[in-house]
Symmetry: C2
């Protein structure tokens, strides 16, 4: 019943997944499994019980021992259905926010105290009492549910439970935008951000010697290139490969984010080279460390940038062990490309069509009109339209080709040769120019750019898997990290949204400027 926890590509049933998540607390695990049995009785009474333990967890005097209450609450929570969780969380957001009567009373005191403080001389006694009022007001403005979050943070296993709570909250908010719950979410997100400080995260090299319970998590959460079996996993942890994860001491045995690295002679152009280069090259011959997969494991930590220091720390570590590795690059998916392109093609071909149907005097009047295709691309597209896909203009032909059954276009040499140029060119445009709130529209691009990378190269037919064709017409991108420029690039991306790119890729979108001969 926890829909937002299915980021894993391997089929783990929701229940298995849930039990996994509770392994840090084996006692509660067994009890929850019991509760979760389909023959559960009296769900309403159970709901009331959980609500009561939640209330105790918030309102008990803080000097009392509340460990057992918190255990009780989290165990009970796991036994609830998705609908009951929804009710419970909504109740938490609405009934445990502020005591607004108290806030108003303190505001009155505050305004009075401020006057006294501003008019009178700096008297320590007066100041102390003013600071006290200010502090009381600050505390009164803290929603009561913060007590629950703070107590769980101090409680063994509580941080993991908070991340599960937040995953549920996000999944509710995705269905319905509820102001009070959104306020609660932004509060919880802020707290989780400081509690999961990067300074407390431990970089751990994951190897075949690690416990199966940890490796199982890697298999379950690898979101980019699914791990097909144990042999595949062993290869990814073996010679010529590295895997690093960030662990937090309060969430043991489960990396919050992990990164897979291949040691290669050159920056790979296709994912096949990386996943199936058997046998790998001897490590002493490697000059490139290629980051080919980064996955975060906790949907409840969405929006908290845990990866910020990960790449920098991994680079430092690899460089220390292997000084002969001089290039640090990624081979990354472009998850939003085709979705963006299809919507662009649909709207523009529609505008072009409308335009054509008008009298010649009105033509090209739309300010939004733009032919996404260059003249020679338009011509090539129309040339093949009769045989392969109908369309009144090049863009519509391209749209129809790309949305045809089973990615038929990718199996025809002729279609590939016609589509290659516009697909690559528009991909460069998508990566370098399409923005949202001043940041790269593509989420993976945004991740690497804010970490200080540059866009180096796009690669044709780099990922021929169904997912790769579907997301990005099989195109993948290399981002490159230059240690000496990481800070500078990150700052300029943050402050002005400037995207660093190689001349080669810039050439796609600025046809006037030829790439220099010396570009490597």
């Amino acid at each position: 019943m926890r829909p937002n926890n299915n980021s894993s590509k391997l089929a783990l049933s929701p229940l298995t997944n849930e039990v996994n998540q509770m392994q840090s607390n084996p006692q509660s695990g067994s009890r929850a499994a019991q509760h979760a049995s389909p023959n559960r009785q009296k769900p309403q009474r159970e709901f009331e019980h959980v609500r009561e333990s939640m209330h105790l967890a918030i309102s008990m005097n803080k000097t009392e021992v509340i460990d057992s209450v918190l255990d009780d609450f989290s165990e009970g929570y796991f036994s609830l259905s998705y609908e009951s969780r929804w009710r419970l969380l909504l109740g938490l957001a609405k009934e445990y926010d502020l005591n607004r009567t108290q806030v108003r009373e303190l505001i009155k005191q505050y305004l009075g105290g401020e006057e006294a403080q501003l008019s009178g001389p700096e008297e320590e006694g007066l100041l102390a009492s003013f600071y006290r009022i200010e502090r009381n007001l600050r505390h009164a403005l803290k929603p009561k549910y913060e007590a629950l979050f703070e107590r769980l943070n101090m409680h063994s296993g509580g941080l993991k439970f908070l991340s599960i709570l937040r995953a549920d909250i996000l999944s509710i908010l995705a269905e319905e935008n509820i102001a009070s719950l959104r306020a609660l979410d932004s509060d919880l997100k802020e707290k989780l951000g400081t509690w999961l400080s990067p300074a407390a995260l431990e970089l751990h090299q994951i190897t075949w010697d690690d416990p199966a319970s940890l490796l199982e998590k890697i298999v379950a959460y690898e979101a980019v290139h699914p791990i097909s079996n144990l042999i595949d996993l062993k290869r990814r942890l073996g010679v010529g490969r590295r895997c690093f994860g960030y662990l937090h001491p309060a969430i043991p045995g489960e990396p919050l984010i992990f990164i897979e690295v291949a040691l290669l002679k050159n920056v790979a152009q296709t994912i096949q080279e990386v996943l199936w280069d058997d046998p790998p090259i001897p490590e002493r011959e490697a000059t490139c460390a290629l980051f080919y997969s980064i996955s975060s494991t906790q949907p409840g930590l969405a929006g908290i940038n845990l990866g910020k220091f990960l790449i920098k720390r991994v680079i430092t570590l690899v460089k220390r062990d292997m000084p002969h590795v001089s290039t640090f690059a990624t081979l990354s998916p472009i998850p939003g490309y085709i979705q963006w392109l299809l919507s662009k093609l649909a709207s523009q071909s529609k505008i072009a069509e409308d335009d054509m149907s008008q009298s010649s005097a009105d033509r090209s009047g739309s300010t939004f009109q733009e032919n996404l295709l260059e003249p020679e691309e338009e011509k090539a597209m129309m040339d093949i339209s009769e045989e392969f896909a109908a369309g009144k203009n090049g863009m519509e032909v391209m749209l129809n080709l790309l949305t045809s059954m089973n990615q038929e276009w990718s199996k025809s040499a002729e279609l590939l040769s016609v589509l290659r140029t516009p697909l690559l060119r528009l991909c460069a445009r998508y990566l370098l120019q399409e923005k949202k709130r001043g940041k790269a529209l593509d989420s993976v691009a945004n991740f690497h750019l804010q970490n200080g990378a540059m866009v180096e190269r796009i690669n044709w037919m780099a990922d021929k898997s169904e997912k790769g064709l579907h997301q990005s017409a099989g195109i993948m991108v290399n981002y490159v990290y230059r240690l000496e420029n990481i800070e500078e690039y990150a700052v300029s991306y943050f402050s002005s949204g400037h995207i660093q790119a190689s001349d080669e890729i810039r050439h796609y979108v600025e046809p006037m400027k030829k790439p220099e001969a010396t570009t490597d």
Copy 2:
């Protein structure tokens, strides 16, 4: 120049100490040492530089890369004299608290928004905007210096630096009570409390195989029974001994608190048995785990109860490895006993004297008057007064004996036999009945009682070291932890201040009630 950092009993020069504390950041360590050289030039310019970097660290846009600014600030801070740090911290407290104009403006919006929200129907859009104002007000009420604390918390080495900052703040506040600085301290303390969540602390068994840099810290910070040399240290980590520390991942290589354990046949009555039982008994014969020393290493974490779960976790660990160990007890100092007793004796003997000098009709009129001695003790004291120490009454004789040069009383068999009964009896009273805000007056007693221990036994001449005689007339106390009662005792101590004690020790203060024969 960091006076509050001398908790260590071994002579580390302040400079060495400071450099030690910076070892997590070797780069800054060397630069700081350089700055700290006595030939430093232009301290004023340096002060301005540090203040500037502090300002940047607080006010830079949060998306910019501030790591180098934070490094700059902490390096600069270490180069400052104690006086400059005082000025800087005072400036931080006064100039970086709130923007009160903004607070007032938001209060106005808040009161308006609240009215609209309370009168109108539950409309999500209106609610959302109200929550936003509420959140803005909450944020505006956060002092600006919180940004510095939060950024340091996220920064590598920052948590350690914050604990040094707070140690300096506490030492300033001990000299002068400044309202704004006290407000800053309470804010910082609250933050440190949540960032150093017990759930993130790692229990580590410290052994002779640990790095010298860590063992060095144990030697430096052992505050109860100083470690005299490497052989002494090796013994405390060897057969029949255990040492456990709490480490936080953001403060690597340095336990925040550590506890030393001796495995014994019986609960030790003197510290000499523990420190010099050479050779120790075979571990399989042990039935008692004795906690004989608990030291915290960070003066800047004062008031944050890091020990809360330590003892419970250590007991669980020892029990798992050695099921035959059934008794968990301490042999603890009573640091405040003699100080309390001397002040009591001085005031009461003064009152008694004044009373004697009044006419007989007025005698015993003072409601505060109390003879601390029983009649037979009073008599014994007066009997020896001629030979050993003058005094108009028993209390004054006792006071003079206890304050005589070089603890002469402890070297005379006759004096020991006279002092023994009243010293033990009054010690039991001090431990069981003397309170401050409902908690045990003695700090070590308070620590163990809030952890769920009971007062089991007091031991005569248990620590004959100069410090032991000085603090508690050589008396030490055994607190006992009974796993099955820990929770219950902690709750009852917290809620009502009730102190659990054995019949044996209660007998000292309730002479009517005889101890039962079966008490062990």
